[in-house]
């Protein structure tokens, strides 16, 4: 195939402090055409999840880093060939080892390592195990994730020597050591079992048989020293699997790598399943734990009569929608009032830095946003929220929430928050104790607006019971910095602003 003008796709730099990224999903497979700036893959870093556009128009020539793998910024992860270049159409056996980007072999059979998304996992035989809940391409490949350590990439001195003496590629040996590492026993057994009947070039009947997860035949015939790419090496790998294959033997249709049962994974009890932690999940886990270890969390709650806000919203909603296409939510009202209140409570908008207290004149308002798949949370930040009126905040919230769900946030948009609002009330919850987003001092929880019997005073000054829309607000604060009385006053003032909403002021 032509390789002359291929364009390399590298792991992009997603923010100054981000040094590596995890491939979560390839949106195009080798052989598929792609336009410039069309989404090529999705990546996940410790800051954001995002799509990476193709740097060139053409055809995906090869994918060098598999889903679930984490590589440093700048690593070549794929190549795009010019349109019209002939590309090996489809992957063959899903080799469980990571692709070898270091291998400069011109045998561009490498891309075939990836699993064809077309392969229907439902057709997988019993061996696919109940432990793989529909291994859709969106899932990072569990096998690759398991090898995330130095399992498959590290080769012990004795294995390296034996491999060199016998001309064997150690990455082609199925490893039984920790993290799938190839042990001396593994490579000796591999050599002893002989070159397991390397298939003749392009044997049409062969693919099902070859598709066993152990990829020995391919690598065995590709001795390291061969200056010319051994044709036999490329041929079986390049042989396409039956394109239609409804009648393919059920024994081994090409399938996404099934979770490897052994390979240093924790033992599973019957009925249990494994799924790899995404970079985002790991980040959340680390942050939540660190926050609880850092701040002295205390939560105070207050009940707010939202009658005025409900009435206002009813009035403004059609206006805003007609004029600006924005749905103004209760959250926008609360956020606007909170920003206003924070002006008077700089410590609630502050942070402890070392043994100093930091306060600031602006409010960078974070909003906890649940991702569409329900498997993650991100906190985009509305910068300088004190400069926005109700409409501005409503627009900002809709914008960042949508882009968070679409994974289109920029790294800077999830940093620098000074105060956070979380809104689990959408599901009807009326109370919670959220965890502070470090290094902030507090987080505001907003809950469901519920109609409740409420004691109010009539014009005569008599107590009467009325039906009022009530919302609970919680302030979870770092008691190292914010005292209970301060938090109480903050909530009181916030309630006051909401209950006596001054339309002109906001």
């Amino acid at each position: 195939m032509s390789t002359g003008t291929q364009t390399e796709v590298v792991m992009p730099q997603m923010g100054v402090s981000v040094s590596e990224g995890t491939i979560t999903k390839w949106l195009r497979q080798p052989g598929e055409p792609i336009g410039r700036d069309e989404p090529l893959l999705e990546i996940s870093t410790d800051k954001v999840d995002t799509e990476v556009p193709s740097p060139a128009e053409g055809v995906v020539a090869e994918i060098l880093v598999q889903e679930g793998e984490t590589v440093e910024v700048g690593t070549v992860i794929a190549r795009i060939a010019p349109a019209g270049a002939e590309i090996a159409p489809a992957p063959a056996a899903p080799a469980p080892e990571p692709a070898a980007p270091a291998e400069p072999a011109p045998v561009a059979a490498a891309p075939v390592e990836t699993a064809p998304p077309a392969a229907e996992p439902a057709a997988a035989p019993v061996a696919a195990t109940p432990a793989s809940p529909a291994p859709a391409p969106a899932e990072p490949a569990p096998v690759a994730a398991a090898a995330g350590g130095n399992g498959r990439s590290f080769v012990s001195p004795v294995v390296a020597r034996i491999a060199a003496e016998h001309g064997v590629d150690p990455t082609a040996v199925a490893g039984t050591g920790t993290g799938g590492r190839v042990t001396k026993k593994d490579i000796l057994a591999f050599i002893e079992s002989g070159p397991a009947a390397a298939p003749a070039p392009a044997p049409v009947a062969a693919p099902p048989a070859v598709a066993a997860p152990t990829p020995e035949p391919v690598a065995e015939v590709a001795p390291v020293a061969a200056p010319e790419p051994a044709p036999a090496a490329a041929a079986p790998a390049a042989a396409p699997p039956p394109p239609v294959a409804p009648s393919a033997p059920p024994a081994a249709p090409p399938q996404p790598p099934a979770p490897a049962p052994a390979e240093g994974e924790p033992l599973l009890l019957p009925g249990e399943q494994l799924e790899p932690m995404t970079a985002m999940r790991r980040g959340i886990a680390e942050h939540m734990r660190r926050s609880l270890d850092t701040s002295a969390h205390v939560t105070s709650a207050i009940e707010v009569d939202m009658s005025r806000v409900v009435a206002l919203r009813k009035k403004l909603k059609p206006e805003y929608e007609a004029a600006h296409g924005v749905n103004v939510t209760y959250l926008a009202f609360v956020a606007r009032a909170a920003v206003e209140t924070l002006k008077e409570y700089p410590w609630v908008n502050g942070e402890i830095r070392g043994d100093q207290i930091v306060t600031r004149g602006n409010v960078n308002l974070g909003f906890a946003v649940e991702l569409a798949d329900g498997k993650g949370l991100i906190v985009p930040v509305l910068k300088n929220a004190e400069t926005l009126n109700l409409l501005g905040i409503a627009k900002g919230v809709v914008d960042i929430a949508q882009r968070a769900r679409d994974k289109k946030l920029l790294p800077d948009e999830v940093q620098g928050g000074t105060f956070t609002i979380t809104n689990p009330g959408g599901y009807g919850t009326f109370h919670g104790t959220p965890v502070i987003s470090q290094p902030q001092a507090a987080i505001l929880g907003t809950y469901a607006v519920v109609k409740r019997p409420w004691v109010v005073q009539d014009e005569m000054g008599q107590d009467v019971i009325a039906i009022r829309p009530i919302m609970n607000l919680t302030l979870t604060y770092d008691h190292r910095l914010v005292d209970g009385a301060l938090a109480g006053r903050f909530l009181r003032d916030l309630r006051e602003k909401l209950e006596s909403w001054d339309e002109a002021a906001y």
Binding site: S156, P157, A160, R161
Partner: protein, 324 residues
């Protein structure tokens, strides 16, 4: 073949050597009338008389100094330290005189110092040490660390026969705990030849002294899990059987070096370094060391158990090596 305890084997060997060679004599604190702190020389004074079983003052300097002089003059002294820990008082005579005398004056010093060593019975910091590594660093000294009654006898005979000063570390915890068949007739075991205490091909433990038994017990557990562990008993630390160790490393490719002495600068470090230099390309896992932590030996039984490598520690390390 009679079955003897470890301490009986030492006692028998010493008696046998004294009977066959008039030049052999023992000296030490309370070795005569009292029969020695651990009764190794019980009855010796009755048999050999006070001039060959000499009670000395409480002075390790005098004991080793006197033994060195006697050896220079052609005798074969076997000096006893009540505890190996006390040898430091005799450092100068041992290290400056005995170890270097042959190089300095071509006069050999065929002397043996018996050193009851090791912990496991709450002896605390002054009665539990294994200072073999300190002396392994001194050229001119030889060091034996028998693990079995059979080796205890054969190595003591070799030590007495050897023209160099030999430190003979006898492990107190093995004295009456370990029994084994010991030939009645005299025999020697050459220095520098390791013994395969247990055969295996998956992992090799290189050790000596009481840890041989710890390793063997751990190896039994691993055998139940399908991992065959070779236990290599060095028997003598100086000279040590490099070739045998390297052979095992090349075969098993995974090594655990185990000793009861503290870790830093322990002789296990020398073994590990040698393996790294000579057999790097045969390693399938990093060389693993288990040793006591770098503290004095604690009195408290609980702490001492935490200090001395235990069977469970070895089992864990072997599992990790096997799985690496």
């Amino acid at each position: 073949m009679p079955e003897l305890t470890y301490i009986q084997a030492i006692s028998d060997a010493l008696r046998q050597e004294m009977r066959r060679d008039q030049r052999v004599f023992v000296l030490g604190e309370d070795v005569g009338v009292y029969g020695g702190a651990f009764k190794v020389t019980l009855g010796f004074q009755e048999e050999f008389g006070p001039w060959r079983v000499i009670d000395t003052p409480l002075s390790e300097t005098a004991i080793v100094g006197g033994a060195t002089g006697a050896a220079l003059m052609g005798l074969r002294p076997v000096a006893e330290m009540q505890f190996a820990d006390f040898i430091s008082c005799a450092w100068d005579h041992l290290v400056t005189v005995a170890a270097k005398q042959y190089f300095r004056g071509r006069t050999p010093v065929p002397m043996v110092v018996r050193l009851p060593s090791g912990g496991g019975f709450s002896g605390g910091p002054f009665h539990s040490q294994n200072p073999e590594s300190s002396f392994a660093h001194i050229p001119g000294l030889k060091i034996a660390c028998p693990a079995t009654p059979h080796d205890a006898k054969g190595l003591l005979a070799s030590a007495i026969e050897d023209p160099n000063p030999v430190l003979y570390f006898e492990h107190k915890h093995l004295y009456r705990r370990i029994k084994g068949e010991v030939p009645e007739e005299r025999y020697t075991i050459p220095f520098g030849q390791a013994r395969v205490a247990r055969e295996g091909d998956d992992v090799v433990v290189v050790t000596w002294g009481a840890m041989v038994h710890t390793a063997a017990e751990a190896a039994e557990t691993l055998a139940g899990e399908g991992v065959e562990t070779e236990v290599l008993d060095l028997r003598t630390v100086i000279p040590w059987d490099r070739e045998r160790v390297l052979e095992s490393v090349r075969r098993c490719s995974k090594v655990l070096v185990l000793h009861e002495d503290t870790r830093t600068g322990g002789f296990g470090a020398e073994i590990a370094a040698t393996i790294a230099e000579e057999a790097f390309e045969d390693l399938d896992a990093p060389v693993r060391r288990i040793a006591a932590p770098d503290t004095p030996v604690p009195f408290s039984p609980v702490l001492e158990k935490a200090f001395i490598p235990q069977v469970e520690d070895v089992v864990t390390a072997l599992r990790e090596l096997a799985a690496y």
